[in-house]
Amino acid sequence: MDKLGINLPLLVAQLVNFGLIAYLLSRFLYRPVLNALSNRTARIQESMENAEQVKQQLARAQQDYEAQLTKARQEAAQIVAQANDRAKAQAEDVLTQARAEAERIQVEGRQQIAQERDQLLRGLQGQLATLVTQTASTVIGQELHGPEHQRLIQQSISSLGRL
């Protein structure tokens, strides 16, 4: 024992030292660190649970949003369809009215043309009868009177009617 240097007071001193250092390390290192690790674990656990809750809420909000979006799309589609239908109907009405108007304008135009033609023809007939009478008088050198005169006028009008 002497040569190995083992000595009771030194052994006791080392035993006491180890006990002391174990206490101090426990007090200043192990307990604070393990507590900190434990707290951090709890906090991380809590954060993860919170994150999970937030994730679920987000998923629910997403679902709501999707549902509302789908509903809105359906409504929009419905509105658009209705508007299309209405527009088509209106277009149809407008077209019908336009056609009718065009028809009317066409008929009126025709009538006007016919009237104007008749009027013109009547004017022409008068002027032509006068001209024919004058021309015939000049040709035959005498003034036409009576039934001859009337016959020539009628003949001229008839020939004009063929033009």
């Binding site: 024992m1 002497d2 040569k3 190995l4 240097g5 083992i6 000595n7 007071p9 030194l10 052994l11 001193a13 080392q14 035993l15 030292n17 180890f18 006990g19 002391l20 250092i21 174990a22 101090l24 390390l25 426990s26 200043f28 290192l29 192990y30 307990r31 604070p32 660190v33 393990l34 507590n35 900190a36 690790l37 434990s38 707290n39 951090r40 674990t41 709890a42 906090r43």
Partner: protein
């Protein structure tokens, strides 16, 4: 031989011879199995390993208190390092003995931390080599009775005397005159010596480990713990194994003590001899090896304590049922 190998060998040889010539260390530091006494306040043999133990304690506690004084939620720097160390060791202990780690954590973690710091600080240059000259007998822990009361005045030796006497006396510290006129060789007593290179320290930790193992064994299994050692019901073979187990329990004290002491002490001697033979370059790989040994010895001491406590707290039938290995029950890690 390849030219590269030859060149390397030549360089090493040149460094060895050159450093030996340039930086001569004339005397190999004295190798002493026992720690050397620095003084005897109130009759207590205050050794260099005790001084080193105090240094280790103070340094360790300073580092710990500085790191954990203000614990932050998000760890940084030293706090981060200590948290990593504690968590890793806890996890390691859990993997060996999940059931008991909580209650034996302080013990085993302290063994690991203290031994690791003691071993590592022993590698600081100057530890084991810087010291004072004293009479050989005065440095003994248990001095001869006749001289213990009359310590020689070695402190009076001057540097000139020491250098002058080197070679003539064969000692590093020269000689001194005793009260009765004899000429004695003084010895260099290092101020610091690794606590692990002192059997008092290793024996103290081994005893604590041993008593902890037995305490947990009795606490968990009661008087049935003795059934591991005294079992005559299952035949003579098992009875003999029980006796061997009992012997091995006590042998553990020695194995714990001498494993740590032997490794660290041998490491110190190797480093001293290497530094004596070749002061430059050659000790470097041995330093690397010693750092590894320092860590491994601390680790082995702590892990073996955990493993033995696990073994001691496992009932005989329980161990058989699990093929000698106990599945641990989950324990809340939070303290």
């Amino acid at each position: 031989m390849k030219p590269r190998t030859l060149i390397t060998a030549l360089v090493v040889l040149v460094v060895m011879i050159g450093s030996r010539l340039l930086f001569p260390i004339k005397v190999l530091p004295e190798v002493s199995v026992a720690a050397e006494v620095l003084g005897r306040p109130a009759g207590f043999p205050f050794t260099n390993s005790i001084l080193m133990t105090i240094v280790v304690d103070i340094l360790l506690m300073l580092l710990v208190i500085m790191a954990t004084r203000k614990m932050a939620l998000v760890p940084r720097g030293a706090q981060n390092l200590w948290e990593l160390a504690v968590e890793t060791f806890y996890g390691l202990g859990e993997s060996v003995d999940r059931r008991n780690i909580r209650r034996m954590f302080t013990l085993t973690a302290t063994i690991f931390t203290f031994v690791l710091f003691a071993n590592m600080l022993a590698l600081v240059p100057g530890v084991g080599s810087v010291g004072m000259c004293r009479a050989r007998e005065a440095a003994l822990i248990n001095p001869p009775a006749a001289q213990s009361t009359n310590e020689p005045p070695v402190a009076a030796l001057t540097q000139d005397e020491i250098n002058h006497d080197v070679g003539a006396s064969g000692g590093a510290c020269g000689t001194y005159q005793t009260a009765d006129g004899r000429t004695e060789v003084a010895t260099l007593v290092p101020f610091f010596r690794s606590p692990s290179a002192d059997l008092n320290t290793t024996l103290a930790i081994a005893l604590i480990s041993f008593f902890a193992i037995e305490y947990f064994g009795f606490k968990d299994l009661g008087i049935g713990y003795l059934g591991k050692f005294f079992n005559i019901k299952e035949g003579p073979y098992i009875a003999l194994v029980g006796i061997l187990e009992l012997i091995s329990e006590f042998v553990r004290i020695m194995s714990f003590t001498f494993r740590l002491f032997g490794n660290i002490f041998a490491g110190e001697v190797v480093l001293a001899v290497m530094a004596f033979l070749v002061p430059w370059l050659l000790p470097l790989p041995f330093y690397g090896l010693e750092i590894f040994v320092a860590f491994m010895q601390a680790f082995i001491f702590a892990i073996l304590t955990i493993a033995f406590i696990n073994q001691a707290t496992t009932a005989h039938h329980e161990a058989d049922a699990h093929g000698g290995h106990v599945e641990a029950s989950p324990v809340d890690a939070a303290h």
